[in-house]
Symmetry: C2
Subunit: 77 residues, 2 copies
């Protein structure tokens, strides 16, 4: 995965725990599987924008808030 | 695709043209194929966070700026 997906996983966990939600509660609210949440938080699964959208809605934040403070690290293939 | 991926495609085109870049120039800078850029702008391809990261770096913006102003539309599966 990339620096951004790692930072995203950390950010997701931060917002989830700040909101007092378990991985299961977040998964239910977002219409995802709990394992999917766990994999994202541990940077072991690629995240699509559709998933980011579901997570933002479940956490009641705007989509860009899930990326605020995350800097781009330029990677070349 | 979702409301967010549609809005993302529009936002990408906006930032790209504002920066005076062609799809090919953006593709080169991001290490992606021009067709990939074209598909994203037309909301015909799912976007992963790794791709968003490359695009942000190529456009010299922070990752969250690609999503600013884009609202989440809650969708249930």
């Amino acid at each position: 995965m990339s620096d951004l997906t790692k930072a995203f996983g950390d950010r997701l966990r931060e917002l989830r725990t700040k909101g007092g939600m378990s991985q299961e509660q977040l998964a239910d609210a977002a219409g995802l599987h709990r394992t999917h949440i766990s994999l994202i938080e541990r940077d072991q699964r690629s995240v699509r924008l559709e998933t980011l959208e579901r997570l933002a809605a479940a956490l009641r934040v705007q989509p860009h808030e899930l990326l605020v403070g995350i800097k781009a690290g330029m990677k070349r293939r």
